[in-house]
């Protein structure tokens, strides 16, 4: 955006632009669509190449002389290490099935956001450097020279992909743009060209244990805040432990849930539920991050960060691990962790101490999803639930890209939600489950300087929420991802005001009936639950609700006011 130049203002009315082929369309790096460049101190902190201060908006990116050689050698190396890359470079037939499946294409209208073209960015270079036809026929064979402009174009568009894999579902050969973006970003990292929003958290996480850089005492005081709130709202005093040796279970959740609303409410949900169950579990301040922003830099860095989970489990001598609600965290855990840092022979196959259910599906990883754990509890009637406590909410569920398409974790969360809420409506079929639309801010793109881009990417998802909002009066968007909780809150604020965002365990705890609980008239956000007010206020409140628009009432109750 920004202030338009005079010549932009004086445009002919019937401007019919000429659009040449994509290779001949230069890429303009537009503010609002890109994130600040990785900072020198962060690159330095994790030992990444080319630490320097630079600005992607400027002409000079301060790359070493032999940058081109580095990229091409990097590509060669990866072609020998990843069959995915090698096969995907060769077999695309450009059928176009993926073209309109990308949320960034749908929201931005920029043809270079069609997944096939994102891959062609890299493929064109591959053909030029590694195929005979490309070397001889050049452009006729779809090959092109790696120039500085092409390199910048790669940077621009690999950071306009959230690695959501929606296109991969529709591809007849399973070509996965996420894989191409992941490897494309690895190449960019060889020259220190990542974004500050990713490398900052990675550096934090490496040294301090979590993306936010919370030191041990800060983690504890964060949770103490929640403990106080929980006691105030429910009358229950929870007592979590930290770094406790000999606990049965280690619990690891994304650190976003430790301090940013509405993630904190999800976190309060875990605390309450585990307390109620009397679970023998511990938090860790060393392995205090479930997410893995390293996954958005290089495979190696992701492994370096992921190392802490098993290492800490071993040190503490726990039997197995529960992981909190997070999207890319679970893609990493499900598809990478054991291969990188396993086998964790020192752990046992997870067995729920409450229900006795043995999680054989996780017998190698020894780590289960919190929602899986809870679904099993509910199925076995181990939670005392009063779903009517959530009756003021009409809920829909957003499948996170990673748990949907990198795991297939779809029915468990729905089962839990349906057990704790009476009003649930799914969004239309082509926008959920394996066809779910990304929140628009995944894979480390949830910075604020690229807000325009995030809103574009968030449009298809928001559009489907708007539909159920209008049709069924949906006022709460549930999800199991920390990035979703932060990003969808902004996205809803822009696209569908009046729809609040919450993690599944917040809903669970709100519906739970606790032993010896006080009179609970408020939810975990400290807001009055309609119909559960103090008796003397009840009548008055009922009247005031009656005069409000139904939608506003629900929205207010669901969260807007709570964030003030």
């Amino acid at each position: 955006m920004g202030t338009p130049k005079p010549e932009e203002l004086i445009q002919k009315i019937d401007l019919t632009p000429q659009w040449p082929g994509w290779m001949d369309t230069p890429t303009e790096i537009k503010p609002g669509n890109f994130c600040w460049g990785a900072k020198a101190k962060d690159l330095d902190g994790i030992g990444f190449p080319n630490p320097r201060e630079w600005n992607p908006g400027e002409e000079d990116w301060k790359l070493p002389e032999n940058w081109k050689e580095i990229v091409i050698e990097g590509l060669r190396e990866r072609l020998e290490k990843y069959r995915t890359l090698k096969v995907f470079m060769d077999i695309c037939v450009r059928c176009g099935a993926c073209a309109d499946k990308c949320h960034f294409f749908l929201g931005s209208g920029d043809p270079k956001n069609m997944p096939v073209l994102r891959a062609e960015l890299l493929r064109s270079i591959y053909r030029r450097e590694f195929t005979t036809a490309g070397k001889i026929l050049g452009k006729f064979a779809g090959a092109r020279e790696l120039t500085m402009d092409v390199f910048k174009e790669m940077w621009y568009y690999f950071f306009q992909c959230t690695e959501c894999r929606r296109c991969s579902v529709f591809c007849p050969f399973g070509i996965d743009t996420a894989e191409i973006t992941i490897i494309g970003r690895e190449l960019l990292n060889l020259l220190g060209c990542n974004i500050a929003w990713i490398t900052g958290p990675v550096n934090n996480c490496y040294h301090k244990g979590n993306h936010l850089g919370l030191e041990p005492h800060a983690i504890m005081s964060s949770l103490e805040y929640m403990i106080d709130d929980i006691e105030e709202y429910t009358g229950v005093k929870v007592e979590p432990t930290f770094n406790r040796k000999g606990a049965e279970i280690l619990f690891i959740t994304p650190s976003g849930d430790l301090f940013a609303d509405p993630g904190t409410f999800t976190c309060m949900g875990y605390l309450l539920m585990f307390h109620e169950l009397g679970l023998d579990y511990t938090w860790s301040t060393y392995a205090s991050e479930g997410g893995n922003f390293g996954f958005f830099t290089t495979n190696e860095m992701a492994k370096r960060l992921n190392y802490k989970m098993y290492a800490e489990a071993k040190r503490l001598g726990v039997k197995w691990i529960i992981g909190g609600e997070c999207g890319h965290m679970w893609r990493v855990l499900n598809q990478y962790m054991d291969t990188w840092n396993g086998p964790a022979d020192f752990l046992e196959v997870p067995v729920s101490p409450i229900t006795g259910t043995r999680f054989d599906n996780a017998k190698q990883l020894k780590m289960i999803h919190a929602v899986e754990f809870t679904a099993d509890l509910i199925k076995n009637n181990k939670l005392k639930l009063d779903p009517s406590r959530n009756d003021h909410l009409t809920v829909t569920y957003h499948d996170s890209c990673n748990t949907a398409r990198g795991m297939g974790f779809m029915d468990e969360p729905r089962y839990v939600i349906n057990s704790v809420c009476n009003n649930f409506f799914d969004m239309p079929e082509n926008t959920i489950r394996e066809q779910t639309f990304c929140c628009g801010s995944g894979s480390g793109l949830n910075a604020s300087e690229n807000m325009d881009l995030r809103m574009k990417g968030g449009l298809p998802r928001a559009n489907a929420v708007k539909y159920v909002n209008e049709k069924h009066g949906v006022n709460l968007l549930a999800n199991i991802c920390a990035i979703d909780r932060a990003a969808l809150t902004s996205s809803m604020d822009y696209w569908v005001p009046g729809v609040a965002v919450a993690g599944v365990h917040e809903l669970v705890a709100n519906a739970m009936v606790f032993k010896g609980q006080g009179k609970r008239t408020v939810d975990l956000r400290g807001e009055d639950i309609p119909g559960m007010e103090e008796e003397e206020e009840a009548e008055e409140a009922a009247e005031s609700i009656a005069v409000q628009e139904p939608q506003e009432e629900a929205a207010g109750a669901a969260g807007e006011e709570g964030s003030e």
Partner: protein
């Protein structure tokens, strides 16, 4: 650009064959040498390419899951969209290879609105793709009759099915109609759907024209222009028995057909047509989603620099003690 270039290239091939056989009488070159060279290039090239892929490791097990994973017994497992065992992977691959499952996915929901054109173009891509590939396969199998002294029963059965309409003399094969329509559709689609046109390369038009050329010359020979079928069989038998002969009077049209087929074979291993082999090797499709249950080894896994707990405690020991956190070293 890509379109014109590819069309000219294919027309040039036709002229080469026409000139070579019709003008210069190079029957032996076009009937024996080139076909041999082509089939050799195809077999060697295809094998090398597939081996090239196969020797690259699969470091991670990263299937794209397109349905509910195997979970509790009381949750319905979507076996073929999220396979858990090798058998289920085979099922998924069969659905993919035989029925183009992923392309079919395009067609769901039809909540229509808006004043304009009907929805459903995506379904056509699936249908045309399927029709094209299957008819191509049937046609290839039918051609086996030229390479056996006694035509195998299977080939006869296929011919019978293909000609079941019992129209015309010689009998009209359905696949001939289908393949020409499907390829034409795929071509037109590439030209008129702007997104697809935008992403199309010469390498996308060229094989379409080649295949269209093969189909048209084949159809001409079968239905319209008399050729010396017995001579062709003699030539084919000579080729497979490695005793090549070039009978007289086969007709130049056959050599054109043969030359384009040979070009396709030679071009195949170096092109996107290798998706035929690649689809089987795609790690997002051919692996089970069972990492949590079964270990997957990365052959090049290596040790990395990590930040140990000890280093962490060293940095924060005082703060940890102050907050009452247990420490390893006092």
């Amino acid at each position: 650009m890509g379109l014109g270039f590819s069309l000219v290239a294919v027309l040039t091939l036709v002229l080469i064959a026409l000139g070579g056989v019709g003008g210069a009488n190079l029957q032996y070159l076009f009937g024996v040498i080139i076909p041999y060279a082509a089939i050799a290039t195809f077999i060697v090239g295809f094998t090398l390419k597939v081996l090239g892929w196969a020797k690259v490791p699969v470091p991670f097990r990263i299937p794209t899951t397109s349905g509910q994973m195997k979970s509790f017994p009381w949750i319905n497992h979507d076996k073929f969209d999220n396979p858990d065992t090798t058998g289920q992977v085979v099922g998924r691959m069969l659905l993919e290879v035989l029925l183009f499952r992923s392309l079919f996915r395009n067609t769901k929901t039809e909540l229509r609105d808006g004043p304009r054109l009907a929805y459903g173009s995506d379904k056509w891509l699936w249908l045309a793709g399927l029709a094209f590939h299957w008819s191509f396969l049937v046609i290839v199998l039918r051609h086996l009759r030229f390479f056996f002294a006694d035509v195998p029963v299977l080939v006869q059965a296929i011919e019978g099915l293909d000609g079941f309409l019992q129209v015309g003399a010689p009998l009209l094969y359905i696949t001939d109609v289908v393949i020409i329509s499907a390829v034409t559709y795929l071509f037109i689609r590439r030209v008129i759907i702007p997104q697809v046109r935008y992403i199309s390369l010469p390498a996308d038009y060229f094989p379409l024209f080649l295949i269209l050329g093969i189909a048209i010359t084949g159809v001409l020979m079968r239905y319209f222009i008399r050729i010396h079928v017995v001579g062709i069989k003699e030539l084919a038998m000579g080729l497979v028995t490695l005793k090549p002969v070039v009978p007289e009077g086969i007709g130049v049209l056959f050599y054109i057909h043969m030359f384009i087929v040979s070009t396709l074979r030679m071009y195949f291993p170096f092109s996107k047509l290798m998706h035929m082999g690649g689809v089987f090797l795609s790690p997002t499709r051919n692996l089970a989603n069972n990492n949590r249950r079964q270990r997957h080894e990365n052959p090049w896994n290596y040790d990395v620099k990590v930040h140990t707990y000890e280093a962490y405690e060293d940095e924060f020991r005082e703060k940890m003690k102050e907050s009452g956190l247990p420490v390893e070293k006092e």
